[in-house]
């Protein structure tokens, strides 16, 4: 499995256009969040978030539904405006990131049903779509997620996992420096989830972007992330470094111990039947 994955990466490298930057942790952008608040009417969803994510780190954000973790992601993506506070990508405050530097993968694939698989990946290139070599970049990225031979299919004939891989290729094709995931594997079956987790880890290590993943699956967070952040009542309630060596074995004792720790914390303050 590992050998296969490595070989596939090698192939991709060979096809990368010369203009593309070499993959290294320096590809990532730091994320800085200062005093971020968001209210919808009288309801305060985020009550002041302060967070620094170093470049290239993989951060998982967990919390119960309605805790504000998805709202935080939407603010970072510019899909909602914060009530107060600020955030920036990069090291200097106020620095404006290139609009292709930050990409997102949603829980739903959100592919254009009227565009072929390859054209859907090309959406991720934005205006670069018209440049020579754009198609080769899209093809190389599609190869990276193992779907090159499905490039001329309509999205409707693909399985859920394959659609999510196309969505991943679309997010990756512009070589983003920050990649946000909003429960990207939430709708997949258990086996597809595991292989997608491996794929995500591989491309993250390969390309060196900063990854922010919102998930409700604590085991997934512990398996993938360098650092797990728990949000409760709109505040950061736990900030835990995961120092386990990679690749981590899903279901190993270390992973299970950390998972138990976080879950205990999650349920510490909850009354019985709160989340039912």
């Amino acid at each position: 499995m590992v050998v296969q994955a490595l070989r596939r990466v090698d192939v991709v490298k060979n096809f990368e256009p010369p203009a593309a930057a070499p993959a290294s942790p320096a590809n990532g952008l730091a994320v800085n969040i200062r005093g971020l608040r968001k209210s919808f009417g009288d309801h305060e969803v985020l009550a002041g978030i302060d967070l620094h994510i170093p470049a290239g780190e993989f951060v998982a954000i967990v919390g119960r539904s309605g805790c504000g973790k998805s709202t935080l992601l939407r603010l970072l993506l510019g899909l909602d405006q914060p009530t107060a506070g600020s955030f920036w990508f990069g090291d200097r405050e106020g620095e404006v990131a290139d609009n292709r530097a930050v990409r997102v993968m949603f829980q739903e694939p959100r592919l254009l049903p009227w565009a072929r698989v390859l054209a859907n990946v090309e959406v991720g290139l934005g205006n670069d779509r018209k440049l020579p070599g754009a198609r080769d970049r899209a093809l190389a990225t599609l190869r990276e997620v193992g779907l090159e031979d499905r490039r001329n299919e309509w999205p409707s004939v693909l399985s859920g996992g394959q659609r999510q891989r196309v969505a991943l290729a679309r997010a990756l094709v512009s070589q983003p420096r920050v990649l946000a995931f909003d429960e990207p594997l939430g709708a997949l079956d258990a086996l597809t989830r595991i292989s997608m987790q491996k794929l995500l880890e591989r491309v993250w290590r390969d390309q060196g972007f900063t990854a922010i993943m919102v998930t409700h699956d604590v085991a997934e967070a512990v398996t993938l992330a360098d650092r797990v952040i728990m949000i409760e009542d709109g505040r950061i309630a736990l900030d835990l470094q995961i120092d386990l060596p990679r690749p981590r074995e899903r279901g190993s004792a270390d992973v299970a111990a950390l998972e138990g720790l976080i879950l205990r914390d999650l349920f510490r303050n909850s009354k019985a039947g709160d989340d039912a």
């Binding site: 959100r110 254009l112 565009a115 959406v123 309509w154 679309r170």
Partner: protein, 264 residues
Amino acid sequence: MSAAVASGGSSRGLQTLTQWALPIGLILVWQAMSMAGLIPSRVLPAPTDVVAAGWKLLKSGELMRNIWVSFWRAIVGFAIGGSIGFGLGLANGLSDRSERILDSTLQMVRNIPHLALIPLVILWFGIDEEAKLFLVALGVFFPIYINTQHGVRTVDAQLVEMGQTYGMSRSALFWQVILPGALPSIFVGLRYALGIMWLTLIVAETISASSGIGYMAMQAREFLLVDVVVLSILIYALLGKLADSVARLLERFCLSWHPAFQKR
């Protein structure tokens, strides 16, 4: 292998045959009953008589002239009403302000049956071409308008959001997300509009015209030429079927991504 292909081909041929079995059977029964004298020719002439009448009119050139006139009215009226409906549907689908200003007025007008305007239209335009074009345009306007607006309004908001996070410009968003997303609904409007187009034209031509298929039918009624009346009705049916087939073909071509139009 080849046997399987051959049997597949012949079963498809059989399917086409079944499709046509009923109409052909009905015509044969009709012919037989006419020949047996069960249907008086003053009520319904035999199919052979209708064909003969058609042949006579074709030779005199009258048939083609009238078909052409009706066809032209249908196309021009459709183009005028359809493009206005499409344009306003897009505008009111995309812009809240435009919808606030226009939509309630248009919905009010929509509730008037457009054929109720015939007396007024005759007063305005007489029985000239404008009258027919106006009625056809008005008739096709609403289904196209409503379905275009509905299509644009109901484009998957998640896809629009995706387009925005990927930095699509407004025009890219329109061409790549909104218009293709609205297309299935627009086609529903198109096919409705084609039906209304022929309906309007038939009524308009039978009431106020000096040429066209409807006029040909009304003239024939005056002279008790039942075969020509039946012929006119059949031509309308054929033209309607033709328009619908073209729309379906276009739909199949434009919506080939849609699971409903993919080969199983």
